[in-house]
């Protein structure tokens, strides 16, 4: 990524000689579905999150605090902890597996180049955000995200997603999910700063870290520590929750269905 940025800056330097050609040149540089230039944010930083699954107890405090902080509509989540009950086929032993999900703020975010109006973009510090004043609500980015991290917010009628609580980071606060995590499982920080906690943990556990769906080549920047590889892609699981039905076959207990 650093190399890519250096190349980009090099090109930018070359172009300054003929500033009048900059818009044309940037069109020629960016092929269809290539990443458009990043804008805004601190170019010195690269925010990322490390989730220590050994410390996650699946209490959903992050889900709730995110909901309160960011006012997502009911039934839609910027972050949530997926939970599965896992049984060993050999011993029959049971275990619970928690997987906090949120936007991966990928280095190669598939949601960004598809946006027809440039409303969703990546900042220099790696955070992927949506300009909800510009968004036309075409939902192309929702389709393009392999992690289901995006949704259409029916109140704003625009695309909505986790922003690493950029507004809180700018005020020197931690994101709501990190702040409220009971076990201290979520660690956010600047991976360009070698002294930050996240940089030290990445160094220490480098070989054990996993990302979700690495085969999509999105280069996610949410790293999981202590994750079973079988959950990195869509797990082969039986859907439990939504199949709870009453004696007439009606689904029980889903209050927020829009349909």
């Amino acid at each position: 990524m650093d190399l890519a940025r250096r190349l980009f800056l090099g090109q930018a330097a070359r172009i300054t000689a003929g500033a009048a050609f900059v818009p044309l040149a940037s069109v020629a540089e960016a092929g269809i579905n290539d990443q458009p230039p990043r804008r805004g944010g601190d170019p010195e930083k690269r925010y990322a999150m490390l989730i220590d699954l050994r410390r996650c107890i699946g209490c959903q405090a992050c889900t709730v605090s995110c909901h309160i902080e960011n006012q997502a509509p009911l039934g839609k989540f910027r972050t949530i902890v997926s939970q599965s009950e896992v049984q060993s086929t050999e011993t029959g032993g049971l275990a619970q597996f928690m997987l906090p999900r949120l936007c991966n703020h990928c280095d190669n975010p598939p949601c960004v180049p598809v946006c027809p109006v440039g409303a969703t973009f990546q900042r220099e510090d790696g955070i992927v955000v949506v300009d909800s004043d510009r968004c036309v609500g075409c939902a192309y980015c929702v389709q393009a995200c392999p992690y289901d991290a995006r949704f259409i917010n029916e109140r704003t009628q625009t695309a909505d997603k986790c922003t690493f609580c950029a507004h809180r980071l700018e005020a020197g606060l931690l994101p709501a999910c990190v702040e409220s995590c009971v076990g201290g499982a979520r660690i956010i920080g600047d991976i360009h700063d070698p002294k930050s906690q996240i940089s030290r943990m990445i160094d220490e556990h480098y070989d054990e870290l996993k990302v979700l769906k690495p085969e999509k080549n999105t280069s996610p920047h949410v790293f999981y520590l202590g994750m079973d590889e079988r959950f990195a892609t869509r797990p082969a699981a039986v859907p439990g929750l939504w199949d709870v039905r009453d004696h007439e076959g009606q689904e029980l207990g889903y209050e927020y269905a829009e349909h």
Binding site: P113, V117, A139, Y140, Y147, R234, A236, G240, H259
Partner: protein, 381 residues
Amino acid sequence: MQSIELIAPRYGIAWYPWAVQYFFLIALSYASLWLAVPGVIFGRENWKAAGRLALLGAVSTAIVAPITLLADLHQPMRFWHFYAYPNPTSWMALGSFFLPLYVGAVVVLGWLVWRNPMRAHANAGGVQGWLARIVPLGQWETPRWAVVLVGLAAVVFSLGVMIYTGAEVAILKARPLWHTEYLPAMFLITGLIGAAGLVVVLNRFSGLRHPRAGDQMLTVILVSLVLAGLVVAGWLAQGLTMNEGSVAAAIDSVRNNPDWRGLAYWNVVVGVVLFLGAGLMEIFGSLRGTRWILGLLALHVAWMFRWTVLMEVQTVARNSAGFQHYAIDPGSQGILGIVGSFGLWLAVVLIINMFVPWRTALGGRDEAEIPSAVQGEPNYG
């Protein structure tokens, strides 16, 4: 390891049936334009009847398609953002430029072709006479070169529309079922099947009942079905041995979901019935009076393919177990939107039919000579 999912969010769909309507209507439009090329642009006598019908199909669907696309936006009033903040890396942004150019060219082509017969009605009374005096913008004869020039421009823009609508969906890695180069090819071929079906249906219900146009369209349907079969065979052959990708995802869906199974059987059965029906009619001329049924079936194939690809694929979960639940909404995000856009298209066809003597364009016979012109209640299924 066995596992049961305990907590997972329910992800809704993000593209509504409006998207199906758009992809359906725009494919009908560009493919109809291509069917009109030999008769309208190159002036081939044998293809003029088909050309008249196909041009009506191309213009009417081109007018309605952008409206359905606008309806699929959650912020339709912000459509001008496409032109104020274009993002050149996005296929959809490129499409936002191709689409108005294409629609404009097709409408101008229709105007150039239809203004000649319209001028003949300048002495008529009422709204028809008034329109016949105003719309042609003068008494000049449409020059042949203008039809050829605008027609070829429309064909060039239609290629842009065809490529962008396919690429827009096929580049999405996030949905393996879409992420295949075979998808744009299928959009194109099923579009041709639907457009030929549309011409057959218009041929019957406009009262034109031109036998040669009907036969030509049957041939188009037959050839396109063979091509569709080859594309599906190629798609299966290249993906059957792979553990991931679009074929694997399709097999997985068909295996694990009874709805998908039903849909797969239905699509195959309809395709085979259409092929056999069109083939039988080519052999036995006596069946040709029922061609319009095959026309409706061809439209159904083109629509159903888009419904399966755009709506059903969205129910395949990306991160959670099982399938996402989708129940079609009775309101404007669902059934009302589907029925409404077809109704709007019907209204456009009827208005054109009422004020534009399209039957006599390109040297066609006068309406008065065709006694069946008023028979047959329009019903476009």
